[in-house]
Amino acid sequence: MECPVPQCKQREPTQLGRKLSRLRPWVQTGFLGVWLAPLGQWLHGIPGCVFHCYSCPLSSFGCPVGIAANTAALLPVAFEIPYLLIGMLLLVGALGGSIVCGWACPFGFVQDLLGRLTTRKIALPGWVGHFRYVVLVGLVLLLPLALGFKGIPFEEQVVSICRLCPAGALEAGVPYSVQSLLAGNAWLMSGLKTGILAAFLVSALVIHRPWCRIFCPLGGLLALFNRFSLFHLRFNSKECIECNLCRTRCPMGVKVDQKVNVSGCIRCLECATCGALEPCFAFPKETSAATPREPPPSKPSTAEPPDS
């Protein structure tokens, strides 16, 4: 396989990196069988770990974002701690960080497929990722809570994450609208939601994973675990030949040549193609062993700051 970096004569993509890159779409397809399992609807009572609308006719697990918003709206009426949701997020986040975003999320997979249709992409600055936390705190937690205190149930709240969510529009709004039209009924998805879906589809053609990078509250939350999750990416300085293949391959625009376990990463492992970034698990034995460092070189280190 030819190196994707033009004029790069120094390095061929590693065997592991090439295998992972080829394997990922198949794993994502396989996970569709988990999330889109109509026979598994009894699992609706268990929160999933990916962004997938639970109103989808084929959904198996519950949407963690919808559960969080519903629980927040319920708080003024009944104080219930969502143990299942918190437990699921802690477990998945601590094991793999945001690896489910890159390898298991059906909505991320849709965006990956849309992104393949065009080659030119708009680069986004790293700070836009912070907006995910605005969505998480504002739209998922505080707004439903405030409207809940006003006595408005979540289903009747005019502005909510579920009413603005393009995943809900694609996975539930479109199927139910088609079903309604075929049955001769008049129910259609709202104009606002249709517009959001259209804007999302267009933007996914020119921006790689726009929802994940700017808006996804679940991805933002799971990405916080990237800094200490058991599965992580490790930098091997002995393998680095400064070809910058890692950063060139990163579809999310993360400055992986400076720091890789950051909140902008979805752990797609495309950067592992270069060989200097190695996917690995943390083991208790390794914690005591100090990493041998080479003597400080004469080269200055004055690069732009890494993404958060």
Binding site: L85, L90, L91, E155, S160, S237, T248, V260, A282, A303
Partner: protein
């Protein structure tokens, strides 16, 4: 089409942090998550079901997805007796109106309908 190569910034690989993760923070967090998952699966909420008794947390989550939450202040009143029914006279209507006026508000504020199947309308 080949991707556009990002120029290499003036970084020295030997100076870079290897980003080795410690085992215990991730492990302890994962254990806490597993314990919470187990506790959640066995968690009886303080919310009643239509059938009586408390709802499990899994039933509450399912109610979110199936429009299965009933709010007491949003429950429609019982329908009046049908006027075309020969048994439903004006006296029956009066009795129904008196019963409605004297009816005490429900003891619950919210409850879970386990039989709800309608998809979330949002």
């Amino acid at each position: 089409m080949k991707p556009k190569r990002v120029p290499q910034p003036p970084l020295n690989p030997a100076l870079r942090d290897p980003e080795r993760h410690e085992f215990w923070p991730g492990f302890i967090t994962a254990v806490i998550g597993a314990v919470l998952l187990f506790a959640g699966a066995r968690h009886l909420t303080g919310i009643d079901t239509v059938e009586g008794g408390s709802a499990w947390e899994t039933q509450l989550i399912r109610a979110f997805a199936t429009s299965g939450l009933q709010y007491a202040d949003r429950m429609p009143p019982p329908a009046p007796p049908r006027l075309d029914d020969p048994d439903a006279s004006a006296e029956a209507l009066d009795r129904w109106a008196r019963e409605q006026a004297a009816a005490a508000p429900p003891s619950w504020r919210i409850r879970v309908d386990l039989g709800a199947k309608q998809a979330c309308p949002t």
